[in-house]
Symmetry: C2
Subunit: 364 residues, 2 copies
């Protein structure tokens, strides 16, 4: 059976002041009416039933997740006791998924990307699942055709195409053997990848049998696997929460790419046939929500004069007036307001650091 | 005896969102710790006692004025029932002032300018009062040496200097006969005035015997004078408030310059020996409060990165972050936020109009 594991533990600071420690990007409705985690669950449609969805998140975010996802059973929210990167998260999720369904296939995906249309996404996941069915030890990944030399993504180098028919909705997209996973590159290297034409961005969407990934962890990360086994042995025990807290904390945080992917042999990359956006910064909001005739993207009670290419966001009752602004981002929340030049928004990380230094954590 | 009449009925929109219908510029502390009306009263020092200060304001602002000026008797606040420009306001004030002191000399001054040092201002007023004492029918005005071809002020053309000694604090400032009052000019005309060298900005500060200005109104504005007389006749009558409301409303609004000054003959202009700033826009705040090493003027809980020449104002608890901004104005209030390019802030009037058109008067 197909299960979906949605990784929703991220804490990003790039959308401050809307994103906060207690309300990270995946809980925000940056791209539309629904929050990103809601849209991610919606996107699954009938592909997997609510009983087979697992939201792997930080324990501190579990209550907010349950509130935003009333259609899922409360047990669908897996609250990790601490942050330990993607490999421990995926290993723990695989344990949960394979507990009642040892033959389970699982799709792992991030919770904070915008993907569409839903039907093409579902076609793509079904196709990937068929590739796993064909050879059960296989790992299937999704690659995004890069359109600029991004330094913020890992890359996947493809090899030979697989001799399989793709669904009609795929257009020119195909599946390929993976030649190699590549870490986030410097811009010069990213330019070479782009020029080579056979590199994809790593979307962070994976399909495999739960047993496949657990075996891979046993092989490549034996210490992690041992600690995960102790957690699995405590399932249904009265002290499960205590065991989980203790053993999970003891795991060294490491990414799934580094822990498994770079060692795996039978890996396939499916070129994503769907639209994809990682919503990496405020600028993405204009792209995703569209802009009015003057290039502005407004989600606020707003009056603008001589305002162009600007994003304005705020709660209902608060009036925001912009005057003579070009390419700015104005984001108002009840306790904090950001006014930034769009071309300078990478500095937002620096801002969060400065807020900490001033001792103003109440705004983070 | 010298009386002070402070005209505090203005409603300006240039400091929105800090200034509002119910809290105009004179009630704000734009230039320092004290509000502008408080600073205006403070500036009088021992020149006139609190019993001889009259605050002529709009009835709607009277309560706020009393609250900000606890050192004045409540009767010192004269609440006009409606807005009627400066001539009716001055005429009504002259009636009040001359009621118990028929020989009163009155200094009339705006409530929303920054003037200093106080001692030089007091020297100047004393000197002006001595000029009135010398020739009781005389009108004394104060002129500001212009430093750019402003279109937003009236001008005073000076004639021959008066053969009188000025106080030591005057420096090169002198008193002159007035040749002519000039309305707010177009910029080309203002440039000619500047080049001519014998023009001052009209500061709106006047000295005269109360009877002098009442006689002038009787002569040049007989209809207004008639209505003011009816109000004066009702002093101490039980129906005074009703008479005031009815008759004052019937007066046609007109400025004192137009109503009297342009017809008056024995008018003297004293070149202001004090520093003067009309605080005409947010830019004045940098000038008056000074700027830090990066040219910013901050009165807020603020974190700035790559921020230069920018004014940031907000209440205590609200964090404002600016990123990559140059020459901007960010003003936050609990229900509205302004983000403006400093060089575009004249458009603020347009903004207020747009807010009205949208039906969002709750923010005005």
């Amino acid at each position: 059976m197909l299960h979906a594991v949605i990784m929703a533990g991220g804490s990003g600071t790039r959308f401050w002041p809307e994103s906060r420690d207690a309300r990270p990007k995946q809980l925000l409705n940056l791209a539309g009416e629904r929050t990103m985690i809601q849209a991610t669950v919606d996107r699954l449609g009938d592909l997997v039933g609510p009983q087979r969805v697992l939201i792997a998140t930080n324990a501190k975010l579990a209550a907010a997740m349950r509130e935003q996802l009333p259609g899922l059973p409360p047990s669908a929210i897996l609250g990790e006791p601490c942050k330990r990167d993607t490999a421990p998260c995926i290993g723990l999720s695989a344990l949960f998924v394979s507990r009642d369904d040892p033959e389970a296939t699982m799709v792992v995906m991030p919770s904070d990307h915008v993907i569409g249309p839903d039907s093409v996404f579902q076609d793509a996941i079904r196709f990937a699942a068929s590739l796993v069915d064909e050879r059960p030890g296989r790992i299937v990944t999704f690659g995004i055709r890069p359109d600029y030399p991004a330094e913020s993504f890992g890359y996947i180098e493809r090899g030979e195409p697989l001799p399989v028919a793709v669904p009609p909705s795929f257009g020119t997209a195909k599946a390929y053997q993976v030649r190699q996973f590549r870490e986030k590159p410097k811009v010069e290297v990213a330019r070479q990848y782009l020029a080579a034409g056979n590199f994809y961005w790593n979307s962070g969407i994976f399909l495999w049998k739960a047993v496949t990934i657990l075996e891979a962890l046993a092989q490549h990360q034996p210490e992690m696997y041992g600690l995960l086994q102790r957690i699995g042995a405590a399932f249904d025990q009265p002290d499960f929460e205590a065991v989980l807290a203790r053993e999970f904390q003891a795991i060294r945080g490491v990414s799934i790419d580094y822990a498994v992917m770079e060692h795996a042999t039978d890996v396939v990359v499916v070129e994503a046939p769907f639209d994809w956006d990682d919503v990496g910064s405020w600028q993405a909001i204009s792209r995703l929500r569209g802009a009015d005739a003057t290039g502005n993207t407004i989600a606020a009670k707003h009056v603008g004069v001589n305002t162009k290419g600007t994003i304005v966001r705020g709660p209902d009752g608060h009036l925001i007036v912009t005057l003579g602004l070009t390419d700015c981002v104005v984001v108002h929340t009840p306790d904090a307001t950001l006014v930034a030049n769009k071309h300078d928004e990478e500095s937002i990380r620096q801002v969060v650091q400065l807020i900490k230094e001033r001792g103003w954590e109440e705004h983070l």
